[in-house]
Symmetry: C2
Subunit: 660 residues, 2 copies
């Protein structure tokens, strides 16, 4: 069957950014310049012109920016997204007969082989193009195009010889503003973008257990105690203070200290065993305080320049109200009991997973959405979601879209440590940020390979890494050394490789390294000894081992240097020493940070770096200055070959600001 219009001669292909051919939105933040690329071409030798069309999804009117032609039928251009929410864009391209004509006339004049009547005829053809353009234009533009057309006719009629193209660049540019789009091709499908606020791209998170915030050892901490901690967290330079679930905790099958199967009298249980007689996901554990206390916390955080992030764990303790109200939201076993979580032969009888194959899946989805809505209505704009990879992926795509439709400023962090396809699918389905494999990427080769993957296309268009050196669940073997140098170097890597990072404190700044089971060994464990997941802890933050001042410095540097506030600009530099990793980030405005980390926390390591000068925005020779922002020390360097030596006792890293 013929197309409705067969005269659309241009073909457009490979438009980017595009996630799964437009099935999912590429992610950007407000103010980002979106770089668009594509191939566009037609039969024959006629010139093609192209532009990007873009708009907020709800707008009726398209905006446009011209695309520039690159070799080999490729095109590029850019547009700026200036508000949050859903955007769409596509590419439109067409045969530009006037542009073709102007360049053909150049060739005719250059060769001067035409017969006498050819040039006047060519001028009349050009005049026709200009008259048509004048009809598409208005006002002064129309007049100028019409005048030029008349001049061409006059020139044609004069029969005078001429050697310069009568069409000057200003007329060419003016005509290009009024293209003949009658047979323009528009790329299908329209490609979606999701535009977040800036915090989605650049953030520093601090996780703490409210119940351990009491200044009095042994007393259950409260939300009011958390308020007291906020100034200190803000001083360390964090943006987001994130708390494990604050809901009532189940009593049945409650876990005891150090994850023992039976709790003792007074054991506080795991906050992730959500729900008790006091309520479920929209209630607050009475020991922590009230909804009013929570409102006070949200306000106090704002006053301190912080945001509160809640941990949403969609699973239920056997005491959760939903178990009685909606037993059909769980899996019922043949004996009528509800299926607890298990990964045979392991059982987690304190947890009932939700059944995403429930007949009442719609009711379940609405209830889960309702949890987010409840807290969003109470001022929470940041959620860390526990184990999202054990809940149905289509649910997340719907639920996150539903929340964002009304509140596009909400941020969702996926706490998924699972297979790459599932992690990436959560991101494609809407998660703003995602946890990463960083904790287990410890060698230079592994770090370079992993960050190259996640900071480049196609991954960077949908997956925003949030990099944590520790979590309450993961005390990596490297940190079990308890060595402050190791804690500093892993924090430096996290804070400078990734624009989003976080720590679980005060365990981190106090260099807590005691594992539940010694490592390495068959029974090695990444669990903390006396983990806060199962008991109250009291932290001596005045302990001189604290690396809080170092962390504060890292966050200060990140805030002062926009190059560290994004990831797509990451470039690794060559160092012959496997213990010395070097990388830089450079912003569009020329801010450049070169970070060099000694991965060996015990020994001095040195190397002659071979810098990629182009990536640093420097000429291949010529003096430049590097200033270590951690210490203030400056060095004068002259070319790409530079010697560095890092002694763990005094400096685990250089974070150099580069001045050409």
């Amino acid at each position: 069957m013929k197309p409705s219009e067969g005269r659309r001669r241009v073909v457009i292909e490979a438009v980017t950014p595009s996630v799964n051919a437009g099935r999912y939105a590429a992610k950007r933040v407000v103010g980002d310049v979106v770089k668009v690329q594509c191939a566009a071409f037609a039969d024959g030798h006629d010139h093609v012109s192209a532009r990007v069309l873009y708009k907020p999804a709800k707008d009726k009117k398209w905006r446009s920016e011209p695309l520039r032609s690159l070799p080999n039928d490729l095109w590029e251009g850019e547009f700026t997204v200036d508000k949050m929410g859903s955007w769409v864009f596509t590419v439109e391209a067409w045969i530009d007969h006037f542009d073709t004509w102007v360049h053909d006339l150049d060739k005719r004049l250059g060769a001067q082989v035409d017969s006498p009547q050819d040039i006047p005829l060519a001028l009349r053809i050009g005049a026709n193009h200009l008259e048509a353009a004048a009809k598409r234009a208005k006002g002064k533009d129309a007049a100028k195009l019409k005048l030029t057309a008349e001049q061409l006719i006059a020139l044609a009629e004069s029969n005078l010889p001429f050697y310069e193209n009568p069409i000057k660049p200003d007329v060419l540019a003016l005509a290009a503003q009024y293209p003949d789009l009658a047979y323009a091709t528009t790329f299908e499908p329209q490609l979606p973008l999701w535009v977040d606020r800036e915090r989605a791209r650049f953030s520093a998170w601090y996780e703490l257990f409210p119940r351990s915030c009491s200044p009095i050892e042994g007393r259950h901490g409260t939300l009011k105690d958390v308020v007291e901690r906020l100034p200190e967290i803000a001083r360390m330079g964090f943006d987001i203070v994130y708390m494990p679930p604050i809901h009532p905790i189940g009593v049945q099958y409650r876990k005891g200290k150090n994850n023992s199967v039976t709790a003792e009298e007074g054991d506080v249980g795991s906050p992730w065993a959500v729900g008790g007689k006091e309520g479920g996901h929209t209630a607050i554990l009475p020991e922590l305080g009230t909804l009013d206390d929570f409102a006070d916390l949200v306000s106090a955080a704002q006053m301190n320049g912080l945001e509160v992030a809640l941990d949403i764990a969609f699973q239920c303790a056997p005491d959760h109200p939903w178990v009685k109200e909606h037993p059909d939201w769980f899996i019922i076993r043949p004996d009528g009991t509800i299926q607890y979580a298990e990964n045979p032969p392991k059982k987690y009888q304190d947890i009932y997973p939700l059944n995403f194959e429930s007949k009442d899946w719609k009711g379940l989805w609405d209830a889960l959405y309702g949890v987010f809505k409840f807290w969003v209505d109470r001022g929470v704009k940041v959620f860390r979601v526990d184990n999202p990879h054990t809940k149905a992926l289509p649910f997340w795509e719907w639920c996150i879209a539903e929340v964002l439709a009304k509140n596009p400023d909400v941020i969702f962090l996926a706490e998924a440590f699972t297979r790459p396809h599932v992690m990436y699918s959560l991101a494609k389905g809407g998660y703003t940020q995602g946890y990463t494999y960083f904790t287990w990427r410890n060698t230079k080769a592994d770090l370079e390979a992993y960050f190259t993957e996640i900071c480049n296309e196609p991954v960077r268009d949908f997956f925003r890494p949030n990099v944590w050196p520790n979590t309450p669940d993961i005390l990596h073997e490297q940190l079990q050394t308890g060595s402050p140098a190791m804690f500093k170097l892993r924090a430096t890597l996290a804070a400078t490789l990734s624009a989003n990072w976080g720590i679980y404190g005060p365990a981190y700044e106090l260099c807590e390294g005691r594992p539940a089971k010694p490592s390495p060994g068959k029974t090695s464990s990444e669990e903390y000894l006396d983990s806060e997941k199962y008991q109250l802890r009291s932290w001596d933050r005045s302990n001189p081992i604290s690396i809080a001042p170092y962390i504060r410095k890292l966050n200060e540097i990140r805030r002062a240097h926009e190059s560290l506030q994004r990831n797509e600009n990451l470039v690794f530099h060559t160092s012959p020493n496997e213990q010395i990793i070097a990388y830089s980030k450079r912003s569009a405005t020329g801010d450049v940070i070169l970070t060099i980390v000694n991965l060996d926390h015990q020994h001095e390591q040195s190397a002659w770096l071979d810098l990629n000068m182009e990536a640093l925005g420097l000429p291949w020779s010529g003096a430049f200055t590097v200033e270590d922002l951690l210490t203030g020390t400056q060095y004068d360097w002259n070319n790409q070959w530079n010697f560095v030596a890092l002694k763990p006792e005094t400096a685990v890293a250089h974070v150099f600001r580069i001045r050409g």
Copy 2:
């Protein structure tokens, strides 16, 4: 908005083969095994199962084949396409609860840590799954599944301890045949395939000018003369005999010998200046014969195991009937004249291009389609299309689909030598085969890079190279040596690198190398001196310089060895000598051809090859025999390191058959 069914937990991505995300069809031929790959995964730890669904596009009923699980959530499988035409396929995947249950039971039994009631409960759950499967099955299968369910219940009720999984592989496989597809996910969009006949993938073409086929020098050759030539062409092992346009030739602005601007009395003109008072694209030049003669030629070709290919050049001489009948199909200049072809400052006044932006584009499209239909109705199933890249791409997509809808056995070869995107777009739009850059790929590095690109994904899924060492338009500088060794080595490369190849003869086998202008130099030319494009030629095929016997040998080898009849199996081997190129092809049935070519036509070259034994289907050590199919000589080799020496006077190449 919620999806209509939220319980489809599996996500399917990256299904291949896929051309532009399903916008175009991937190409295969009848009997091909189509290998399908994708990613399919779900939340949590439940097992996923997947299958490919496929069918001829017009069929209602889907066929299916199971996919096999690979690491990292990837899947693969295959199906066979058993008839020509449009096919579609997609992937369906679902949570396999029974498979999950069986493997969980393994783990339970292995650990034996469950409490006494857990195992009987697990057995009842398994029995439920089996009963549901029994309901989806019929007859004996249903009975067996039901019986197994009852056995599980009995085992549960017996309370006897057991240590082996009661589900044997046969029951697991049987249950897998009756999956619960209630919440299965189907990948969208359905992906199109186009299935050609085998000749689309494997063919040898012989181009000749009928008017030069007269046995009497100076007399205009005829279609009857071509009939006389067929046995010889068939003996050389070609499948397709292809003739430049056979239509009436324009008189106005006719080109003379050697492309001179004015023709002399008796000059025959260029066959590509289509159309005269005797008719246009559906007429035959009277000097060549009649439609009856043409019918005889088609029959005679069939008798000789050959097919006739016509050259369709959609452009008109000023004398073409369409110029008067449909002036609106051309571009009219302001003075009322029709625009001739030009690429300023060059003019081709003997040619009027068609205007694909004509108001009557529908009429034009119909007329062009009518040309193909006319010749298809007269038994032509192979078309070489001249300069398709100067006609609108959307036209080709429509026109080829229109022809193939009724005659799926038609083959279209695109004679496009232009930018890669345009060449590939013609292929995506339906061209069965395409000319290539082979002629200008002369060094080992260039040959390896180019054939690696076109023989691998994504290109190989839509673009089928047809490789020509010469054409009437292209006498490459290398061939201007006139050296038989050069003609042999280029033929060997073409015939063994690509499953589709062709030559323009008898110029090729007679090693015609005289250019229109000497090369190299500013005025160098790839045009032949005394080109048949503008005059009659008489060829002395008995000249002993003829390499016809060598070409016959090459084609014999190609027919006898199915590994040479496809391209996706091409593998290059390492040789330290830049003049020695080595590559192999291996078929699914184990036929292996290793070709080694000396790219230097003047000097002996030798090298120690480093063979990729795995690609040859051989163990890394152990004796094997290579037999040169060109000479019959055999060598016994023992490992990947092997010495070869090729002297151009005696042998330009080895075409080794490998026997392990």
